[in-house]
């Protein structure tokens, strides 16, 4: 993945000095030595060589501060995922503390205050410089050489500062960043620090393309080709400047070009006679290149991915992409990268997208804030649609110290950063102005909704405005001369999102037949219902399950726990919304914290047609107890037929299939058959007395066998296997390698419920960045070389140290044979 970086991230550092050839590029940003000067060029990697100190101190922003005692860190960096000092198991382990102020919301992790500092120099030809932060959580203040540049409060929206007024053109410059994550400010794990990338734009002249100053969109696609409108904003324009805009194919060929005199705002039209279109199934990308020239010499150049596509919405066809109807198979996703916390690495974000694509997902709702650029670009490369969401609150808070305190003053700035930075992305299909916003239907809430929608339409008139509406949608209202009432929460939305409102969708369609809508949050158990509705209702464009992947925080909202059986066979009481410590993970994802499928994912595979048949077994429930499952959860099932101690007890065997006939066999003997109809929702359950051996399910559809699944009883854990997901990876500091540790029995079968403490030894030019499992409970550090396997597995994540070579990794566990593997960093 990192090998793609130079191509995909367009991190060209172009020499713009007088007379420089266009082809004279700086080395890849990763190769820049710390302390060497930054010359003219855009999007230069500024992630390496920072100093960090947790806590606060007097005048830590001062240029002359001696920070040599501070820790060295390379970004992205999230201090909330680091081990806490003075561990005291079980209430304080790894990054988790049962007494943390954020509680279950933030997965019992800690925020606080931290400072970052970085020294850098510029080359003599650098006249201006700008620093771009892709995301800092939560409140940040940035200084250059002791001068305050500004503050930001959103936590997820990108921002930039012009460094020019306070630059030392020949000496050291010092950037200082204070980051504060204080109080109860999030309902989920947010992380802390500069957790997304930082880049530097350096210019040789005052004239430049404005920050996020290019707006390009496909206006028309016909047999004659595609027409793309491009509007470019130039800052400090001077006479004699030319704007050249080109579209290059993946192979680098210029396929469309427009030239214009560069003024403040320039409108151009690109015509592609034979466009290659972007779509989820075939995400072909062009490079949109914007160049500012003076007399043939380059002054500034900006390159960004661009996809030629038209997305439209209508009640009679739903969502169409380039004229073809596309159903959304989507998931909501928080930003954390599991064991890495909030740190946004290209490789980590790409891995998430690939895991979801493999499961049939074609869309992500970035909840409840804009995603990282690394994630968005991975969506573009792999054909993942994206709803970018700006806010989780407006004026009324959800937690006492959240963004609501800043909304009135900052919403316009933060919304603009969200929209302008991502408006050229082919993946982005809608802008969400909010999620389950409190007070959205009051007079003030309606005014805010209109302001936000209007501002989005001003910034980007090419995409609809949405919001995620849950529960009561508000009383019917009308606006202006309209006599058609609509619910107050939806009156200013182009495409409303329905959170958990399955029962409302068809009645609402009857009342509002022109409405096109989607299910913006759904329960995993309703996968079939939404799929079936989507198949029959064109106006319902699809669903976003809560959630596609597990995340830190909102601890235990997807829990399945054991409770004493109520008397008289009554239903167990509803679980509370979240679970107490040691729960730290939400546990509602289709995919777990390390990227593996959970049982709800097997069911979804069947519903979405990825698999014809899946088989799982509920963990035996002790006598006198029942299993209580939350609305976001799933029964505690495993694809396992290894249940020592449960011999002869009837176990719940769940079969998922889109077949119409199934058969279940145990050790070759027929256990049962079942004919399935639509009312079964692709599920069947058998009670099978447990006996070790082989459990096999076979499914047929219209008499044709469509699947056969076997679960075997495995033996005791005997050895460890460690496998690198890629045998070869990049050697730059942004390069990650994922290695899965499996606990196997003597014959090499995965032991699906093994919990073994494993220690890891890494030799070679890589460091262990994270090591842990998918366990939703706090069981230890996520950064030490020891981890407890969960369901037979643990995941190690290595970060390259910047040099090439072979890395050897050995996994050792008590009483089992060690496993080793090697990977090559190039």
């Amino acid at each position: 993945m990192t090998s793609l970086r130079a191509h995909l991230h367009r991190r060209e550092a172009l020499l713009l000095m007088s007379g420089a050839a266009l082809s004279a590029l700086l080395p890849a940003a990763d190769a820049l030595a710390i302390g060497s000067g930054f010359g003219p060029g855009r999007d230069q990697d500024f992630d390496l060589g920072w100093r960090f100190s947790r806590g606060s101190g007097l005048a830590w922003e001062a240029a002359g501060l001696d920070d040599s005692g501070w820790r060295s860190v390379d970004l992205p960096h999230d201090w909330s995922i680091e081990d806490l000092p003075n561990p005291s198991p079980p209430n304080r382990v790894g990054p988790f503390d049962a007494k943390n102020e954020g509680g279950a919301n933030t997965g019992f992790t800690l925020g606080g205050e931290g400072w970052y500092r970085k020294r850098f120099r510029l080359t003599p030809d650098a006249a201006r410089a700008e620093i771009v932060f892709d995301g800092v959580y939560a409140v940040s203040d940035v200084w250059l050489n002791g001068h305050l540049l500004g503050s930001r409060v959103h936590g997820y929206a990108p921002f930039a500062y012009d460094l020019t007024p306070h630059l030392d053109p020949i000496g050291d410059n010092v950037i200082a960043v204070r980051v504060r994550n204080l109080g109860e400010n999030a309902r989920f794990y947010a992380g802390s620090g500069i957790y997304r990338s930082v880049t530097l734009n350096v210019f040789a002249a005052p004239a430049r393309i404005a920050l996020w100053g290019v707006a390009a969109w496909t206006r028309r696609i016909t047999a004659a080709g595609a027409v793309i409108d491009v509007t470019t904003t130039i800052e400090n324009p001077e006479p004699g400047l030319t704007l050249r805009t080109t579209l290059r194919s993946a192979s680098g060929v210029v396929e469309a070009k427009a030239l214009a005199t560069a003024g403040g705002e320039v409108k151009q039209v690109l015509r592609l006679p034979k466009p290659t279109l972007w779509a989820p199934a075939d995400p072909d990308l062009y490079t949109l290149q914007t160049e500012l020239l003076r007399g043939g010499r380059l002054v500034d150049r900006l390159s960004q991915p661009f996809g030629v596509r038209i997305v439209a919405f209508s009640a009679d066809r739903g969502m169409t992409i380039n004229g073809e109807a596309v159903k959304v198979r989507g998931g909501c996703l928080h930003h954390d990268n599991g064991l890495l916390g909030a740190a946004a690495f290209v490789d980590a974000d790409e891995r998430r997208i690939l895991r979801l694509k493999a499961r049939g997902y074609n869309a992500i709702r970035s909840t409840h804030y804009p995603c990282a650029r690394t994630f968005r670009e991975a969506c573009e490369r792999h054909g993942m649609l994206l709803i970018e969401e700006a806010f989780d609150v407006w004026r009324m808070p959800k937690t006492k110290d959240d963004y609501a305190q800043f909304f009135a003053e900052h919403w316009r700035q933060d919304l603009a950063a969200t929209v302008l930075s991502a408006r050229n992305s082919p993946s982005v299909i809608m802008w969400s102005i909010g999620n389950e916003i409190p007070d959205r239907a009051s007079r003030e809430g309606l005014r805010d909704a209109w302001n936000l929608a209007d501002e989005v339409h001003r910034l980007d008139p090419t995409r609809p405005v949405t919001a995620a509406i849950h529960s009561f949608s508000g009383r019917p209202v009308t606006v202006g001369d309209s006599t058609k009432p609509r619910e107050a929460s939806m009156i200013f939305l182009d495409v409303p999102g329905y959170n958990y409102k399955l029962e409302d969708i068809e009645p609402d369609h009857a009342r509002y037949p022109d409405r096109v809508l989607y299910a913006s949050e759904t329960y995993p158990a309703n996968a079939f219902d939404y799929w079936a509705l989507g198949e029959s209702a064109p106006y319902m464009i699809g669903e976003f399950v809560w959630t596609a992947m597990d995340y830190l925080g909102e601890a235990g909202i997807g829990a399945a726990v054991r409770r004493a059986a109520p008397a008289n066979g009554a239903k167990p009481p509803q679980l509370p919304f979240m679970q107490p410590y040691p729960w730290v993970v939400a546990n509602c994802g289709d995919i777990d914290l390390i990227g593996d499928q959970k049982p709800q994912s097997y069911y979804r595979d069947v519903v979405w047609g990825v698999s014809g048949l899946e088989l799982a077994v509920q963990r035996p429930v002790p006598v006198g107890q029942v299993e209580a499952v939350s609305q976001w959860g799933w029964s505690d099932e495993l694809q396992s037929w290894t249940w020592p101690g449960a011999e002869r007890r009837p176990l719940a065997v769940r079969v998922y299939t889109f077949g119409d006939q199934i058969e279940l066999r145990l050790n070759g003997d027929l256990v049962g058959t079942r004919a399935l109809s639509a009312g079964d929702k692709m599920r069947a359950e058998f009670a099978v007395p447990y006996a070790p051996g082989v459990l096999e399910a076979i499914a047929w559809r219209q008499g044709v066998e469509i699947g056969r699944k076997r679960l075997e009883t495995v033996a005791a854990p005997a050895k460890l296997r460690i496998r690198a997901e890629r045998e070869q990876a990049g050697s730059g500091r942004h390069s990650l390698s994922y290695l899965m540790v499996d606990v196997l029995d003597a014959t090499g079968r995965l032991t699906p419920d093994a919990a073994i403490r494993v220690s890891l030894e890494v030799a070679g030019p890589a460091e262990l960045l994270a090591f842990g499992s998918a366990n939703p409970l706090a069981v230890g550090s996520l950064q030490s070389n020891q981890a407890l396997t969960y369901r037979g597995r643990a995941l190690a994540i290595l970060r390259a140290q910047g040099s090439r070579g072979e890395v050897r990794v050995e996994a050792r566990g008590d009483g089992v044979e060690a496993g080793t593997t090697r990977l090559r960093l190039t």
Binding site: W217, S442, G445, L446, N451, S471
Partner: protein, 103 residues
Amino acid sequence: MDAPLYSRTGGYVEPRLAQAEFGVDAISVADLLRSDALLAVVEREVPGFGKMARTPRLYPTLTNVTLREMASFSFFAGVVKPGALERIDAGFRALPTDAWPGL
């Protein structure tokens, strides 16, 4: 094919409540708390409801839920007795329309 555009609508015009059916499913808990007449109907069935619902931590939730939805929440389990919602609904419908709060 041409791409759609989502144009701005001009200046803000405040929405007006449309004539609608009244009842327990037609108003948020936060809004009913603003009407003494509506609250009195609820209090007859659920004594102490107003105080309970005005808990600051709960209030943001109440702006977007009806009484029926709130009654299904685990933290309200058992608070609203069987049949109470139907009686409250009938009580709401019996009130004059001006008992209902504005936006």
